[in-house]
């Protein structure tokens, strides 16, 4: 069953989303379309990934939208979420000062990280890496890259010297800080583009499979929280993977930044390493 688009009482849909997704204004762009179509009211709460997941685990929202595969899997496995669908993806970028003191432009992400760490550890203070340090999706990705480069994050990276600094704040503030300190940092492309005008930072590395950033949406499990609104939640997830919306997503931001912020997930499921069902099959 889907929501009856003509019934009088508007239904409320509560979504918890990660900040970086919310800040791109993609959701602001999509919600009016959804609201009109389904006679619903969308309430979006944006928060750090951890806090967003907390809202989900307590049944305070109906839909969860984050970009941290590993933690999403746990969330699903623990039975808090259900029916995940992947609706968009893009890439993280390693940004840094134009002078590139570590000399890592256009190498692989793993190599770049290794070089930055090495230069940083020599005590040459002009090489600094600023980490989100807030257990966000971006931070998870950064940790994954350190791991892929062969380092134990908590012993060999974190706290290993003043070259590695944890910002402990949102993406925007972290970019501001990296800019101020002429440091490297890992950013999602959306936030970077939004801030680019105010920053002297340039893209250092933007290619590599490991930089892939996959956005998923899932329902909160009604079996665990009986009074979540699962009908309209399902509508929302299905809406996101519908053909029309996938097109909207793929073109969002082009007019403003000259390049898209997201790629539609629909046809690239292989590339991003998820099942076809996750990008195409509407929830029954």
């Amino acid at each position: 069953t889907t929501t009856d688009p003509v019934s009088g009482e508007k239904q409320q849909l509560r979504i918890a989303t990660t900040t970086s997704l919310y800040d791109t204004k993609l959701l602001d762009h999509l919600t009016p379309i959804f609201e009109e179509k389904y006679n619903a009211e969308v309430l979006i709460v944006s928060a750090g990934t951890g806090k967003a997941l907390e809202y989900g685990q307590r049944g305070d929202v109906d839909v969860m939208m984050v970009h941290d595969r590993a933690r999403e899997d746990t969330f699903l496995a623990d039975g808090y979420g259900t029916n995940r669908r992947v609706f968009a993806y893009n890439y993280f970028v390693l940004v840094g000062p134009e002078s590139d003191p570590a000399g890592v432009k256009n190498v692989t992400p793993e190599a770049a990280f290794t070089a930055i760490r090495e230069k940083g550890l020599t005590g040459n203070s002009s090489v600094i890496f600023v980490s989100r340090g807030d257990a966000s999706g971006t931070h998870s990705k950064e940790q994954a890259i350190w791991k892929a480069a062969g380092f134990n994050y908590s012993t060999e990276v974190k706290g290993s010297g003043d070259w590695y600094q944890e910002a402990g704040t949102g993406m925007g503030a972290t970019l501001e800080m990296a800019n101020e300190k002429e440091a490297y940092t890992l950013s999602d492309i959306g936030t970077y583009l939004a801030y680019k005008g105010d920053l002297d930072l340039v893209t250092i590395v933007d290619e590599g499979d490991i930089l892939l950033n996959v956005y998923g949406a899932m329902q909160i499990n009604q079996e665990k929280f009986p009074d979540v609104n699962s009908t309209v939640a399902k509508d929302w997830v299905n809406f996101l993977i519908s053909d029309d919306v996938q097109k909207e997503i793929a073109s969002f931001g082009v007019d403003k930044y000259g390049q898209p912020l997201f790629y539609a997930a629909q046809n690239d499921w292989e590339k991003i390493g998820v099942t076809e069902a996750e990008v195409k099959n509407p929830i029954a």
Partner: protein
């Protein structure tokens, strides 16, 4: 620095064009914080009076505790309220999370200590001879409190001003229990000026943040002028 000037221009623009979104946010700020302040006053003033005039063991310690709670961070207040009203919390069934009501409660809790503390200070400023005079004139407990309050009205209204300032300027609790939601209906939205400022800042829109800050201060100025007018009546 030009962002500051831009902020002023932007504030002027938002105000003269009566930007619908901004007006709604500002109105919501006023409603929520005023309600919290009124409720806070209704609780803190009698509470302060009870503590000031009360003679019970641990009174000194209680006053110290209240003064300590001045340092209660808004995020902690937000968290505590959040735990209480989130779906799995003891009051989850009321479904208050992400509503303006929740924000009112959080702000009220936040300002209670300082309003109570300042009420106690205000009362201790009243000449003891006047208190004796009231008792001597045959005041009941209630009449006594009401009249001491009247003598201390200046300082108590100053406490109200402090409470309102703290309520309307706080953001940590508002964002945790309100969620900074911008929905299509006024009543479902919980975005207020501070959470909007916070959002704009996180998006790097400094001028917009400053513009909203200026609007917030204009509102505070208005409320303060009203309080001053009452004080000098």
């Amino acid at each position: 620095m030009y962002e500051i000037i831009e902020g002023f221009l932007e504030a002027a623009r938002l105000i003269v064009t009566l930007d619908a979104d901004v007006m709604a946010i500002a109105l919501r700020s006023i409603l929520i914080s005023l309600t919290a302040t009124v409720l806070g006053t209704v609780i803190a003033v009698p509470l302060g009076a009870a503590i000031y005039f009360g003679a019970f063991p641990g009174r000194r310690g209680l006053i110290n505790l209240i003064q300590t709670l001045y340092a209660l961070p808004t995020v902690v207040v937000g968290l505590l309220i959040f735990l209480l009203i989130s779906r799995v919390g003891p009051f989850g069934f009321v479904r208050l999370l992400f509503t303006p009501t929740a924000m009112v409660i959080a702000q009220m809790v936040l300002i209670l200590p300082i309003m109570t503390g300042l009420t106690i200070s205000a009362l201790s400023g009243v000449d003891p001879v006047l208190r004796d005079a009231l008792r001597s004139l045959g005041a009941t407990r209630l009449q006594f409190f009401a009249n001491v309050m009247k003598e201390a009205r200046f300082a108590i209204l100053a406490a109200v001003a402090v409470g309102f300032g703290r309520a309307i300027s706080e953001v940590g609790a508002a964002i945790l229990v309100g969620g900074n939601i911008m929905a299509s209906s006024f009543a479902s939205s919980t975005r207020v000026l501070t959470t909007a400022i916070s959002l704009e800042t996180s998006m790097g829109n400094i001028s917009e943040s400053i513009a909203l800050g200026i609007i917030l201060l204009i509102i505070a100025l208005g409320v303060n002028l009203v309080i001053t007018a009452i004080q000098h009546r």
